[in-house]
Symmetry: C2
Subunit: 248 residues, 2 copies
Amino acid sequence: MGATVTSRALDILGAFDGEHRSLSLTDLARRAGLPLATAHRLVGELHRWGALAREPTGEYVIGRRIWQLGLLAPVQSGLRQAASPFLHDLYGTTLATVHLAVRDGLEVLYVERLAGHVSVPVVSRVGSRLPMHATGVGKVLLAYAPEEVRLEVLANLTRVTAYTVTQPARLLEQLRRVRAEGYATTGEEMSLGACSVAVPVRNGDVVVAALGMVVPDLRRQLPRLVSALQVAAHGISRTLAGTSVQWK
Amino acid sequence: MGATVTSRALDILGAFDGEHRSLSLTDLARRAGLPLATAHRLVGELHRWGALAREPTGEYVIGRRIWQLGLLAPVQSGLRQAASPFLHDLYGTTLATVHLAVRDGLEVLYVERLAGHVSVPVVSRVGSRLPMHATGVGKVLLAYAPEEVRLEVLANLTRVTAYTVTQPARLLEQLRRVRAEGYATTGEEMSLGACSVAVPVRNGDVVVAALGMVVPDLRRQLPRLVSALQVAAHGISRTLAGTSVQWK
DNA sequence: AAAGTTCTTCCACTGAACGGAAGGGGTGGG
DNA sequence: CCCACCCCTTCCGTTCAGTGGAAGAACTTT
């Protein structure tokens, strides 16, 4: 358990999340489960280094140095940069909300997002996580994930909306089709009024990310969207293969 | 001196930079100035938490969790998001490389950048730092910086190109004009063949960032560029004032 | 003015961090 | 094949940095 100094410092950083972007010392101590005096010292060190910054209000926020470090992460520097122009093109031609996501453990992690102005209800945010079985990008990533991951996810299909697929057998069948046809779809399985299509992005033979799109309705334009997605995905793959940079 | 556990762990993270995005354990130990065994333990903890990830090669890279934390930083979540649409507009109408930067200590920190396809030699990258006296955004930020910062910067005007302003008196005069006229310019002071214009971005009365543009030549279109920049800057200010979110 | 807050400082005790040393594992070259 | 080299991992007795209760400062609220 978290008894080492380092893990405690990290727990303090971990106290921040999307809903808690600025926290007082006392909050930090509480959320990290540390005595106030201990938190005070650790926070002081983090602040001195630049991992935390202080707002005019006296509350702490994540510092610029962490932000800069984050820019060096492989998701950011490799995948994201390779994908960026293609995402813009995609958005330009379809005007739908466009997503790039990777698998992180048993969840989908959104790496990039271009949102349309008049958009369908979209839950994701860059940096946020969603369950794999209820999203288009999630199904793609799950279809190509290692067996063990698939089993663990299948064992725990939580319901999100009335349309969420919660029967393992049905999802397995869908995943088979994803592999066969090269794309995945969802229909209001994550949020009502939102459908999605997604395709895999490869680096060599390995599926490293998924590229997806959220629209109010799929029926009419599915083939067109799938091919637009596939064009973009191929473009990204080619860029990735070109840059011999590390990225994962 | 770096003697506390926390600072050592942070030094390990600090070993990464733009040129060193993936490092072996031994490299990390060397760069952080730590005994191998110590580095090994700390790296293990950072890895377990998700601050570091491991490439297939065995080298370490910045992990996704740090990347996610970085997205929570005020630069990112407040300023950057508020500015994003305006930067796109600016880029759309001028097709020049567009920059958003803040002051970090005695340097300029680039927060966002939209690069043109056929672009002039531009040195900056998102997350990188440049000297204040040789860049357009830097001069803006310096013009509105606290007296003490200005003095320290003026005392150390390093030459970058033949055109870099290195005389304190001359720079001071330029800064006065920046405040009077509301924009700053440079002419090949950072890299040959590149000129720039920049304007301040305010939140309330406080100058919190600078918005700049890099072009091959200024003479002809200066007024047009300045007004485009100012429109965008005002838009950003209004957005910032609107969101009562913290940001700095 | 009293009773809350939250933040900061202090310091004696103690157990977590330290790091030298030894042991695996891979690679290369003689 | 064996030895030299490099990088990584584990071990363990010593010691020094981290700990956290407590006291008090600085503010706010009642």
